[in-house]
Every structure is written in structure tokens, then in C-alpha cells.
């Protein structure tokens, strides 16, 4: 039964990927992609990557879908102009050949993976007690490979700076996105009043259990960002002007705390991002607590886009 289920899932995701590529209208392709993201969550559950499934559920189900649907709606009617640049049949056949060759090479690679498979699980299990956390993935993210996580937070910040740099000159320092009409009795406003309190509790819960069970700051931050975006969509709150000092402090606070704890590690533990004995867990908690609000605001603002109006209309 489980094999049948896996085969069905595999067939579905490959089929939906094909639909995403060949669909005639961009909007139909985007909806196909959202369904594809949902099914990937199931695949991660089947591969016993519950932490990954949580990330995919939060990012694939919430943020990416909203981002792409918004873009597809704005770009409606642009297919014709783009279709003029469609490559001819020989080029398409060549592309199909190249893609098939890549797939074939990868498939051979998958089938000839070494057995027994190399694994770092033993190394993680041997050292996890020194970090004090119970979830091996959190231990990897914030202790063994903390540099990756630090750089990731900085990549997110840079992506936001990249988005902001697209602001038209006369709107610099203004509010991101377009103003939403507030319909305080509307259904969307109703949902935006009811869902965020539950979502904030769930987001903090997912963040908090991350120390010992699947979960963590990225998943929690994504849920918090989605709730913030929902209130913005409903017109209940407005995006802050990007010139505000408090906003910028908020954005860089998480990465800065992370970097300073890293430098403290140089003095106390002899390595950048090293934790002194016995203090690993409290330091990890401090880093996570500092990163959570910064990540949530960065993710929310990434989706809001560059400023498109003045701070005070």
C-alpha cells in the first residue's frame, strides 16, 4: 500500500511539473505550481523530513503561492508579446534533448548511489548532547553548521535590499505595495481579524518546539509573516515606510545578534560561532529569539515589493 501511495505521489508531482511548464496561460501554470508545492509537502512527510515538510508547507503553501498569483494577475495579457519570442522547432528539440540527457545522467547517478549510504547521523548523534537541543536538525542549523544559517539570514536581507533598490526615485522611503481599500465589514477583514491571533500562537508554538521536535524559526517566521501579510491584504494594517529607523533596526537586529555571538565565540570558545561549554543551549535560544522577528519582517516585506507610494499620501 505504501509503495502504491509513493508511486501515485511521484506520478502526480511529475505530472503537475509538466503542466506548470506546458500550460497555455500563466495563471493556470501558477495554480498548477501551488498544487505541486502542496504535494511536495506530502513527499517530504514520506521521506521522513518532517522539518522540511513544515518549511515547504509554510513557504510553498503560503508565501510563494501569494507572490506568484499576485504577479500572474498583474501580468495578465502579456503572453502575446512574449509568445513572439518563442524559439523555433529545432531549438525546442535541442532543448528537449539536453533536458532528457540531464535527466538520464541524474537517474543513472541515483541508481548507482553507494550502498550502504554515507551518513553524518552518527556524528550528529555523538555531538548533540554538547548543544543541549533535542532536535538534530536544529543542532545542525544553529551549532554544527551555524555559518550557513547566518549567511542565509544575510542573503534574505540582501534580497530585501535588492527589492527595495527597484523603487522609483520619487517614492524612495515610501510604503511598499499599493494601498488596499479597507472594507472593515468585508469577509476578508473578518478572516484577517480571526486568523492572525491563532496564527501568531501557532507560529510561536512551531518556533518553540523547534528545540526538541520538528519546527524552528524559519517555519515560525514564515507563519508570522503570512499573518502580517493577511492583515495588510485586508487593509487593516499598512506596510511601514521603508525609511523608518525602527524598521531598519528591526531588520538587522537578528543577524547582528548572531554575528556578535559569533565574535564572542572567538574569545570564549576559540572559534567564530563557537559556543562555550554549557552555554550552548541558552546562546542558541538567544539567537533564535533574535532571528525570529527579523526573519518574519524580512519575509513579509519581500512579498510586499518595492515602495510604490509616498509615506504620507
Amino acid at each position: 500500500m505504501i509503495n502504491l501511495l509513493n508511486i501515485g505521489l511521484a506520478a502526480l508531482i511529475v505530472g503537475l511539473a509538466c503542466w506548470t511548464i506546458v500550460a497555455r496561460q500563466p495563471f493556470a501554470a501558477v495554480v498548477g505550481f501551488i498544487a505541486y508545492g502542496l504535494l511536495l509537502t506530502l513527499v517530504w512527510v514520506q521521506l521522513y523530513g518532517i522539518d522540511v515538510a513544515l518549511t515547504e508547507a509554510a513557504i510553498g503553501g503560503g508565501l510563494t503561492g501569494a507572490l506568484l498569483i499576485g504577479a500572474a494577475a498583474r501580468l495578465r495579457g502579456t503572453d502575446a508579446a512574449a509568445a513572439a519570442e518563442r524559439p523555433g522547432a529545432p531549438a525546442r528539440w535541442l532543448a528537449a534533448g539536453v533536458s532528457a540527457a540531464v535527466t538520464g545522467a541524474l537517474a543513472i547517478g541515483v541508481l548507482s548511489l553507494p550502498d550502504p549510504a554515507p551518513t553524518l547521523a552518527h556524528a550528529v548523534a555523538a555531538n548533540i548532547t554538547s548543544t543541549g537541543v533535542g532536535n538534530p536538525i536544529t543542532a545542525v542549523l544553529l551549532s554544527f553548521r551555524a555559518m550557513d544559517t547566518l549567511l542565509e539570514a544575510i542573503v534574505l536581507l540582501f534580497a530585501l535590499i535588492g527589492v527595495w533598490s527597484l523603487t522609483p526615485d520619487h517614492f524612495w522611503g515610501g510604503r511598499p505595495g499599493l494601498p488596499q481599500q479597507a472594507d472593515s465589514n468585508g469577509i476578508l477583514a473578518f478572516a484577517a481579524r480571526l486568523l492572525p491571533p491563532i496564527g501568531i500562537v501557532a507560529g510561536i508554538y512551531i518556533f518553540w518546539v523547534g528545540a526538541d521536535h520538528p519546527g524552528g524559526k524559519f517555519q515560525g517566521a514564515t507563519i508570522l509573516a503570512s499573518m502580517w501579510l493577511l492583515t495588510m491584504m485586508a487593509g487593516l494594517t499598512d506596510a511601514p515606510p521603508i525609511s523608518r529607523t525602527w524598521l531598519r533596526v528591526w531588520l538587522v537586529a537578528g543577524p547582528l545578534v548572531f554575528i556578535s555571538i559569533g565574535f564572542v565565540g572567538v574569545v570564549t570558545a576559540g572559534a567564530f560561532l563557537g559556543y562555550p561549554d554549557g552555554l550552548a543551549k541558552p546562546l542558541i535560544v538567544v539567537i533564535e529569539l533574535a532571528l525570529l522577528p527579523s526573519l518574519a519582517v524580512i519575509l513579509g516585506l519581500l512579498l510586499s515589493g518595492p515602495p510604490q507610494r509616498k509615506a504620507q499620501p
Binding site: 501515485g8 503542466w19 493556470a28 506530502l42 515538510a53 503553501g61 503561492g65 509616498k310
Partner: protein
């Protein structure tokens, strides 16, 4: 019991997958969104059934996340659908 739960997960998955034909056929974008919404609900049910069948408790948190964000794409769709009028007022404000 696990076999039955897995079978139910497979059945629900096949059902909502058949529903995906609506994404192919349309005709309106709203119909396509509905197919995605149905897949979201079916996906939550399948995650719960898989978690119960395999005994991995944390899958409930995955389902909780999916449930929280289930309607997010539909909200964005409705918002994006009413964007053109908003766009015009914004352009006038900016000028």
C-alpha cells in the same frame, strides 16, 4: 489499521488529484483556484492519515501549518483580482 489508513490516504489523494482536471479545464480562474483549495483540504487529510499510519506525531504540526495557510492563496487571488481599480487610484495619488 495502518494499512487501512494508508489506503484511505491514497483514496483521498487520488480523488483530489482527479479534481485537478479543473486546473486543466478551467474555464474561469476561480475554478482553478477551487481545485487548488480542494487539493489543500485533501492534502491536510492525507498528511493526518499518513501521520496516524506511520506513528510520526509531528505530522500534526505539518497539517496545522497547512490548515493555517490553506486559504492564503485564495485570499491573494481575490485581492489580485480587484487590483486594477486600486492601481489607478494609486497612480493618481503618486502623480
Amino acid at each position: 489499521m495502518p494499512e487501512f489508513l494508508l489506503g484511505a490516504a491514497l483514496f483521498i489523494l487520488v480523488m483530489v488529484a482527479v479534481g485537478l482536471v479543473r486546473i486543466l479545464r478551467g474555464p474561469a480562474d476561480a475554478d482553478r483556484m477551487m481545485a487548488a483549495q480542494l487539493l489543500g483540504t485533501g492534502g491536510i487529510a492525507a498528511v493526518l492519515l499518513l501521520g496516524a499510519a506511520t506513528g510520526v506525531d509531528a505530522t500534526i504540526d505539518v497539517a496545522l501549518t497547512l490548515a493555517l495557510l490553506a486559504a492564503f492563496a485564495s485570499f491573494a487571488f481575490v485581492r489580485a483580482g480587484s487590483a486594477p481599480t486600486v492601481n489607478k487610484t494609486a497612480a493618481e495619488d503618486g502623480a
